[in-house]
């Protein structure tokens, strides 16, 4: 019983994180809606575009600035991981020490959330999600990202405006966030079928939960059949909510930093600094939220209720 309570602790923490995230999300949305107003006060054309800007084309394929950041960060992570694990020693030092700390910390954390059975199977995905999102978010905060590129000189304000930045926060592009959400959705279906089988998966969605008898059981079957359809709608919307949540927060954060940099032109170097620290935190929280939500969704579908007597 105590173990069970302890196992619930990470879930509660996850929910707490979600609440915190909710606060950030609300702030982010508020910023997003407030951004045009602030922009109206300062300069309307300062708002960052919703889309990533194309840089060049290879045949019919367009490479955008967010894709470039994705590749740079991906390459950086792979090179670092390869360097850290090239000569593995029993007593770790340097890069191996850091990488071990990260991997072991994530593994233990995920194990406490989804259990040892699931974590062995799914760790590679959740760890990559966390590491990739975290470093993409933090890379987007490096000065120069979004501010170096092609633009025009405004003769009225005598300021150079970047219209087509060379680099853009990769998670401020819906294509990447939706890609990660879609990959998770595919894997989620695969893991769900692997854990439950086709019949078990359907029972998991539509089957009545709890112990009931007689007319109550019939009522429960009807209720849970209808709840199952709602569950399907909820599941189908998960990629949308996951991708837009991450995209919205990162995009709003970038807009906020941009707004803070232009709100008082003389102090454009000072005012964004506190918000940079907040964005560092938001970057971490968003990576954690994406990973935790996907992990909890996987746990929920793979979790077997003993009362139902379904064995796999």
């Amino acid at each position: 019983m105590i173990n069970r309570s302890f196992r619930q602790l990470p879930l509660l923490l996850s929910l707490l994180s979600l609440l915190i995230f909710g606060g950030f999300a609300s702030d982010a949305e508020a910023q997003e809606t407030a951004a045009p107003e602030a922009g109206a006060v300062a300069e309307k054309h300062e708002a960052i575009p919703l889309k990533a800007a194309p840089l060049f084309t290879i045949g019919k394929f367009t490479v955008t600035n967010s894709m470039l950041v994705t590749w740079v960060v991906a390459l950086g992570i792979i090179v670092f991981a390869q360097t850290a694990t090239r000569k593995i020693k029993q007593i770790p030092t340097g890069a191996q020490n850091f990488w071990e700390w990260l991997v072991e910390g994530l593994y233990n954390f995920l194990e406490s959330v989804i259990g040892s059975h699931l974590v062995r199977k799914t760790f590679w995905f959740f760890a990559t999600i966390f590491i990739f999102i975290l470093f993409l978010n933090w890379f987007g905060l490096i000065p120069g990202v979004g501010t170096i590129g092609w633009g025009h000189h405004d003769p009225v304000t005598n300021v150079f405006h970047v219209d087509r930045p060379l680099l853009r926060g990769a998670n401020a592009d819906l294509n990447l966030t939706f890609a990660m959400a879609a990959i998770f959705f595919t894997l989620w279906i695969f893991w769900a079928l692997q854990e439950n089988g086709v019949g078990g998966f359907i029972i998991h969605l539509f089957g009545p939960k709890g112990d009931s008898k007689g007319i109550l059981k019939v009522l429960m079957i009807v209720v849970f059949f209808m709840v199952g359809w709602l569950e399907i709608v909820s599941i189908l919307f998960r990629p949308i909510s996951l991708s837009f949540r991450l995209y919205g927060n990162v995009y709003a954060g970038e807009n906020m930093l941009e707004s803070m940099a232009h709100i008082v032109p003389a102090l454009s170097w000072l005012i964004p600094i506190p918000f940079y620290f907040m964005e560092l935190l938001v970057g971490l929280v968003q990576a954690l939220v994406f990973m935790l939500l996907t992990a909890v969704f996987t746990l929920l579908i793979a979790h077997h209720e003993p009362a139902q007597g379904v064995h796999h």
Partner: protein, 177 residues
């Protein structure tokens, strides 16, 4: 029925366009993520998890060995205490036996000494008695001779053998009484 679906599809398309969703870019990002995930899985997570598992096993093995050594040490300590107790017991037994045998020997020697002393005393008494007897005989003889000589000188006559024997006996009787 078809109108809401059409409107929804239109809304989705419009939203996707507004947010810059592009199928080609989306697929490119899918491929990028999959490549990163698979490379990290193969070259970054597997070796680290393997080394962590190996280290965990080593630690568990080390702890198990430490526990075994501790147990063996406790057993050795117990054996040492048992051997020590046994040795002490045997030594005590030997001391007791030695004490007991020393007592017996001392008693025997004491008895022998007593017997020897008594024998010496008896011999001494015997020798003393013999010496006394011999002295008394010599005394009687000398005294008899003195009495005879004195009587002969006082009376001025030559005593016969019978007189001498009678005086000798008389003097011996006087000395004996």
């Amino acid at each position: 029925m078809n109108i809401p679906i059409f409107l929804a599809a239109n809304l989705v398309t419009e939203t996707a366009e507004n947010f810059g969703f592009d199928v080609k870019i989306f697929l490119s990002q899918v491929i990028s993520f999959v490549i990163v995930a698979l490379l990290l899985k193969q070259f970054a997570y597997k070796p680290i998890l393997a080394v962590l598992e190996e280290r965990r096993q080593r630690i568990a093995e080390g702890l198990l060995n430490a526990e075994k050594i501790k147990q063996q040490l406790a057993e050795a300590e117990q054996r040492y205490q048992e051997i020590l107790a046994k040795g002490n017991g045997e030594a005590q037994k030997m001391i007791d036996e030695a004490r007991a045998s020393a007592g017996v020997i001392a008693e025997r020697k004491q008895q022998e000494a007593i017997v020897a002393a008594e024998q010496i005393l008896a011999k001494a008494r015997e020798a003393s008695a013999l010496e006394h007897e011999r002295t008394m005989s010599q005394l009687k003889r000398e005294l008899g001779r003195l009495v005879i000589d004195t009587t002969a000188k006082v009376t001025g006559k030559v005593l016969t053998r019978d007189d001498q024997r009678r005086l000798q006996e008389e003097a011996s009787r006087q000395v004996a009484s």
